[in-house]
Symmetry: C2
Subunit: 146 residues, 2 copies
């Protein structure tokens, strides 16, 4: 069961400049950064609020590592902007299977590793009214990294 908006994924061409925009304009601070080679991105997570299921909602700023990565190709076509939305669940495996059974294409056979050790999968945007949709199960972790 999906219990929160986990994050909004925003594709950008210059991660450092985009992080600085969000800090200078709104006061949002970086909670976590990492490079995800499998996803082909360098990313920064900005924690915006806690959520009623005990999790949190983030902005995820994504810069592609390579032009031929999925986010790189998306940026070349669309320019900077919202790339995907992500819902949090305690059971990404079970929810992905249930959603696949409803006829929505799930992009991975099994969940892969997302931000901060989470397990993630994606749903095909053409089956979701144009929205690339991610499902996330967070890793157990301390509430604050910084």
């Amino acid at each position: 069961m999906l219990t929160r908006i986990d994050h909004i994924g925003i594709a950008c061409t210059d991660l450092d400049a985009t992080v600085e925009f969000y800090r200078a304009t709104y006061g949002f601070e970086v909670f976590h950064t990492e490079v995800n080679e499998e996803q082909g991105v360098r990313e920064a997570m900005l924690k915006i609020n806690g959520t009623s299921d005990g999790g949190a909602s983030y902005l995820q700023l994504l810069q592609p590592l390579r032009d031929d990565s999925p986010v790189g190709k998306w940026l070349a076509k669309n320019g900077e902007g919202v790339h995907h939305i992500a819902f949090g669940t305690a059971d990404v495996d079970g929810d992905a299977e249930a959603i696949r059974d409803k006829g929505v294409r799930v992009l991975y056979d099994a969940p892969r590793t997302g931000s901060m050790g989470s397990r993630i999968t994606f749903l095909h945007p053409k089956d979701c009214h144009g929205v690339l949709t991610e499902l996330v199960t967070s890793a157990p972790r301390p509430a604050e990294e910084h």
Copy 2:
């Protein structure tokens, strides 16, 4: 100060079909519906979670009332998908003024009426790394409508 992800605004061509997709696929129920003539949309709010500032995060599904409305023109160009993101604040007037002073274009001279009696304004996407960004101050209201 922006204290939550208030909503993700998603443009669609058929509101009823899109509401039904979110219900059937994820179990998300409609919290509120309305027509906003000034914004030129018919909309449904799906409440996803409560937030640590005492508010909530929603999906806002938007169908344009007219092809020549802002959302109608956006849909014709982009197809269905994420139209904007919105941050909640207790003081949309003060935050909009502070953000304008930083050189980001604020689209309204004064906040207008948004969903559920909220007061809203928008920031120019070209000044926000491609993201049409809304600021929202909720109206005082009961926690549950349905």
